[in-house]
């Protein structure tokens, strides 16, 4: 426990920050502009805002958010589908708390609940399975949202439902994969990113090697890191040094958690439950093999096949630039709706409503006093 506490030690972190600023100053001088780093994990977005780090580096480093918030990249059409599932008679829709306020086209799971749907918030997919046991007369549909970190847990729960013959449980799989979206982003060449901060907990499952292509094929450095102050600052120092010497390697700075090859058990159970499929990302469109569909032999636990809910594709809200934001093309203040028509109490797009959405995170960032 002592070690874990020290990973957030403020005295050590402030000294590290000093060093990071020195390095960033040198990089900025070399580039002749602020260095642009992209974090691909919404939890990093939140950490940068909550700790004040975004503001403390604002004059030297622009930290831009990528497509790393799973609820933010869930398309409005998929949200409508979950609302439709929740409205089916006899269905209890179980969802992570993150998802319930995210707007689709006609509302959110929260507003569906207000109109009579039975929507329950769970902390774990295992809790959704418990709901199925406790309510044998009802159909429990779990809203399967998340990346590689979350998908193996959902797979474990589906396997459990199969072995225990819990036939009133199913999953609506909207799981997405990070390496394919990173590739799509790099192919589009929309943003001149100097370096990537890679999602630490996705990498626990995939391994850091799954992201080696960023350096090898696109010549951009990247670093895998965690979420404590020491982790984040350590990774920034590593990444800035790579930018400084023009190195394009992918470094694992989160070795106390992440193995280079990932978690073999998690990868195995995912493979036994899902197969990669082309899916639609909010703001990014269809990306081949970037989502996880439930395998044919598990159809009984696939809510998509079990209930065959059809919703027509819906448009994104007019004026909403969450798509450009998720591609890293703009920062939240560049969206005309930001803090005007779109606010946490009245969100237009998903990036404002999710705690780790870039817009919600920017609202708490004070960038007025960098380097204090």
């Amino acid at each position: 426990m002592k070690v874990l506490g020290r990973l957030n030690d403020s005295k050590l972190s402030m000294q590290m920050l000093h060093r990071v600023r020195d390095t960033a100053t040198r990089v900025t001088a070399r580039l002749g502009r602020p260095v642009l780093l992209m974090e691909v994990c919404g939890t990093h977005t939140t950490v940068f805002s909550r700790t004040g780090l975004r503001g403390l580096l604002a004059d030297l480093v622009e930290l831009r958010s990528g497509p790393g918030c799973p609820v933010c990249v869930t398309s409005a059409t998929d949200i409508e589908a979950m609302m439709a599932l929740a409205r089916l008679p006899g269905v209890i829709l179980a969802s992570f708390g993150d998802m319930v306020r995210v707007p689709g086209a006609t509302g959110s799971l929260e507003s569906a609940r207000a109109r009579g749907a039975d929507v329950r918030i769970v902390y774990s997919p295992a809790d959704a399975l418990d709901l199925a046991r406790a309510n044998p007369g009802r159909e429990i549909v779990f809203a399967g949202v998340g990346f590689e970190t979350t998908a193996p847990m959902v797979a474990a729960v589906i396997m459990q439902a199969r072995s225990q013959r819990l036939n009133n449980f199913s999953v609506y799989s909207l799981h997405k994969l990070v390496p394919p979206v990173m590739r799509a982003l790099l192919e589009s060449r929309d943003v001149p990113v100097d370096g990537f901060i890679l999602p630490g907990h996705v990498c626990t499952v995939t391994g850091s090697r799954a992201f080696d292509f960023i350096g090898a094929e696109y010549g951009i450095p990247a670093v895998v890191t965690g979420f404590t102050l020491v982790d984040v600052l350590d990774a920034l120092e590593t990444l800035l040094n790579q930018v400084l010497i023009n190195s394009a390697s992918v470094t694992n700075s989160y070795r106390w958690v992440v193995r280079d090859a990932g978690n073999p058990r998690a990868l195995e159970i995912m493979k036994n439950c899902f197969y990669p499929d082309e899916v639609s990302w909010r703001g990014l469109g269809n990306i081949p093999a970037s989502g996880l569909a439930i395998r044919e032999d598990l159809t009984n636990w696939d809510a998509g096949r079990k209930f065959a809910v059809e919703v027509p594709p819906v448009e994104e809200p007019p004026g909403c630039r969450c798509g450009d934001l998720l591609r890293g093309k703009i920062t939240p203040p560049e969206c005309k709706l930001f803090n005007r028509k779109c606010s946490p109490a009245h969100p237009v797009g998903p990036c404002m409503v999710s705690t780790e959405g870039a817009c919600a995170a920017y609202r708490v960032s004070d960038t007025s006093q960098p380097g204090r």
Binding site: N8, S10, S13, M14, L17, G42, T43, S49, R50, T51, G52, L53, R54, G55, L56, C69, P70, V71, F96, G97, D98, V100, R101, E110, R120, I121, V122, Y123, S124, D127, D130, L131, G146, T150, L229, S343, P344, A345, S354, T355, E356, R363, V364, S365, D366, Q369, R372
Partner: protein
């Protein structure tokens, strides 16, 4: 005989029809626990005299699931919430009116438990239930029991508390650990599976606050930290007073278990509800005195200075452990456990 007994296990619609069963419930539960000379008049309106000063009036409705939670229940909450609203306004609470909306089928034993803890809280706060009302609604039209309490208190003519008195340099103090109630309620909901020693901080604060006001004239205003937590209360005050408030992350008192639980669920103790906490804006010269005073009382053991008032335009900031700042806004929607 069996039927008879069953009938009396739980609240029936007939308990709300104003007839025999209503009278029975009033006598056997409410009068038994709330007994006092004003209530015993059982007239249409409570009549009482009040000491000299101005009157303060407040009302609040209480709905909580579960009805019983570690550290309290809806009854204790209904008394403390209203008493604390009066106390932070600088008033000395005197009487409460209590109105119950009960769902058909609510166990009578639970109603008695609720009434009993209301009575305990009233005794501690030295207030009396002067009048009340009960309605029973058909099953499904309420969630167990809802309670509305209205409180009346008296406030000395010279008492002047409010954001208008706030000045740059004033300090922000709280009387103890943040977020206990919010997390206790969340973890009492079984789907989260949390086990631990988190109990609600639900408590009547009027005697502690009375002491503080009496001995510490540098207290300029107070607010209880219920829904939306410290962040929401401080933001409202900053806005009302037209000054900036800076809270210091490292000075915020949070119980270790609450910190652990909030980390696990992705919540922020700054936004979690409290039911036995208040913040005060205090003249810097009296901050030490105020803290010492609070710490001598069981409801102020972890009192701390958590921030200060600066010139500005009504913003609330958090100074982080790293030396940065973060903007804090009003709570948007109740805190939900998250995995991202």
């Amino acid at each position: 005989m069996d039927n008879q007994e069953k009938k009396h296990d739980s609240v029936l619609l007939a308990h709300g029809d104003g007839g025999l069963l209503t009278a029975e419930m009033i006598n056997q539960i409410f009068l038994k626990y709330f007994s006092n000379s004003v209530l015993e008049q059982l007239s249409d309106a409570a009549v009482f005299t009040v000491p000299e000063g101005r009157l303060a009036l407040t009302t609040d409705s209480f709905v909580v699931a579960p009805v019983f939670f570690p550290g309290g229940d809806i009854g204790k909450l209904a008394v403390c919430g209203t008493v604390n609203d009066l106390a932070v306004s600088g008033a000395h609470p005197l009487y409460l009116a209590a109105s119950f909306i009960i769902e058909e089928g609510f166990p009578l034993a639970d109603l008695e438990r609720v009434a009993s803890s209301m009575a305990d809280a009233c005794r501690e706060a030295r207030v009396a239930v002067a009048t009340g009302d009960t309605k029973v609604v058909p099953r499904g039209q309420a969630d167990g029991i809802f309670i509305t309490t209205t409180g009346v208190g008296v406030l000395a003519n010279e008492t002047d508390l409010g954001p208008h008195r706030m000045e740059p340099g004033d300090v922000v103090i709280v009387n103890g650990n943040l977020g206990d109630h919010g997390l206790a309620i969340l973890s009492a909901r079984e789907t989260l599976g949390l086990e631990g020693l988190i109990t609600s901080d639900c408590a009547p604060l009027n005697r502690l606050i009375g002491l503080l006001l009496e001995q510490c004239p540098g207290v300029k205003m107070m607010r209880d930290l219920t829904r939306g937590g410290l962040a929401t209360a401080a933001k409202e005050i900053a806005r009302a007073g037209g000054r900036d408030i800076f809270l210091s992350e490292e000075r915020l008192p949070v119980h270790a278990a609450v910190r652990g639980g909030t980390e696990m669920l992705g919540l922020d103790p700054l936004y979690l509800a409290n039911e036995g906490k208040f913040m005060a804006i205090v003249d810097p010269g009296q901050a030490g005195h105020a803290i010492n005073l609070l710490r001598q009382h069981p409801y102020g053991l972890n009192a701390a200075v958590v921030g200060e008032v600066r010139n500005g335009e009504g913003q609330l900031y958090l100074e982080t452990a790293l030396g940065g700042t973060r903007i804090l806004d009003l709570l948007a929607g109740s805190p939900l456990p998250r995995i991202c």
